[in-house]
Amino acid sequence: MNALLILATGLGAAQTKEPTPLERIEREVTAVIEKVRPSVVQVTASFGIDPNLPAQSLTFSGVVYTRDGYVVTDAGGVDRAVEVRVKKGDRSFAARLVASDRKSGVAVLKVEAADLSPAALSDRPARPGGFAIAVGNAYGAAGSASFGTVNGVDRAVVVGGRTFDDMIQLTTPVQPGDCGGLVADASGRMVGLVHSISSGEGRGLSLLEFFGKDARDLQPTTPVSFATPAAAVKFAADRIIKHQKMVRGRLGVTARPLDETARAQLGLEHGAEIVRVEPDSPARRARLATRDILLEFDGQPVRDLAALQRKVAEVERPTAVKLAILRNGERREVEVEIDIDPQR
């Protein structure tokens, strides 16, 4: 009898169906969603525009950053809010806006809670083709999840008149209410914070335009979503938590890399051209001007503008730095004092 039982168990095991690759992927994706969902909260910001009317409000998402109640979210959503509340499950907390970073668009809220589930941040940047699983609050539905991939990285987008650099471009569908939500990779670590969505309207050349049809008659293309990279979220959140305000170094210039033709004409191997100088900034005070070529920053050649941007941002207190510039074909040494971004 025992032998028969053992034989039947063996046969049953042999006939158990192995999961297909697709089933395994599905299982992994749902596991990631279940893992990160506890870290996603709903944020409601109220704006008292007209005292005679009920307060206007915006609902979106946030991610728990620390167990003791720091929450990161999108700065645009809480800008000028008179009241912010954070909701997790059936618990609702009054939230205090600690500070926002205008450069990355990250805001840090504080709620009085001691047992929240912080998200685990990835220490590797997102890569094109990688999985991107977004969890947010689409249309107020808590824990809404969607699945996609990383389209591209290091994208610049303009939202509300501001330029945000190094954004992650995603195929992951996001909906109103998902802004500030968590974007996770295949291991369940946060790679980004949902930021914005493209309009999705194609305006390619079309015969319709010849016939005077409005572009809105065209079928929209698939929208693309964007996320703030986890490294930028971590930088802003850590600085805000440490100083209770955003501390970011500022030079006060906009620069662009020299292209190959310009470098050949100038006989340079590296450098960046200043295209704009901010008024009332360290650069203006040091008499830097547009069309100056930045050659060296603090003794290091300017080869990578992204790295230079990070280097300046990391300054925590006013710091004197030597720059080498090229102006009208003449090399000059300039001393400039990096100050702290006033977050205007």
Partner: protein, 179 residues
């Protein structure tokens, strides 16, 4: 028993055109040989056929129809009435042309006019934040279909912006960075 005169007169068109059956032809010839009245009838019929055949082969002389019309009017209507009738005919002709022209113009204008805006039904969902609009949507139909286009109401949820997700205004590729 031979054919009667009445029978033969009924056969005359076929007999004269050579289309009578053999037995009918023999019976008709036997009767015609003995009946002068039917023989004269046959001659008159053949003369009329010949005259009709010659009329089809060529147009009537110029002025024939006018002469016929004027002659008929002169016999039917007094002199004063003839002028009134002529004027009335001209007026009627003009009115007919005008009516056709107006019909074509009005029809073209109606076809080119855009449809009147459809009225939509709007209601707010409980809890606010969203409205449902039911607006008529023209169902496209094959252009040769004589039936008017079918309209059905398609509900559409409109959100009033309470759920936040900003839109990208531009994606600059200049490589510029500010710091």
């Amino acid at each position: 028993m031979g054919l009667s005169c009445e029978d033969v007169r009924e056969l005359l068109p076929l007999y004269a055109g050579g289309e009578a059956a053999e037995n009918e032809r023999v019976a008709a010839e036997a009767h015609l040989a003995l009946c002068a009245g039917c023989a004269r009838e046959l001659d008159h019929y053949r003369e009329m056929r010949a005259n009709l055949a010659s009329v089809r082969e060529e147009d009537p002389p110029s002025g024939t129809w006018k002469a016929i019309t004027e002659g008929a009017c002169a016999r039917l209507f007094p002199r004063g009435a003839r002028r009134a009738i002529a004027l009335f005919d001209e007026a009627l002709r003009f009115a007919a042309v005008l009516a056709v022209g107006l019909a074509v113009g009005v029809g073209a204008h109606v076809a080119a006019r855009p449809d009147a805006p459809a009225t939509a039904v709007v209601r707010t969902l409980p809890g606010g934040g969203a409205t449902v609009t039911a607006a008529p949507v023209d169902h496209p139909s094959f252009h040769l279909n004589p039936e008017p286009p079918t309209r059905y109401y398609a509900p559409r949820v409109n959100l009033d912006g309470s759920y936040y997700l900003p839109r990208v205004e531009a994606m600059p590729v200049t490589g510029e960075r500010d710091f």
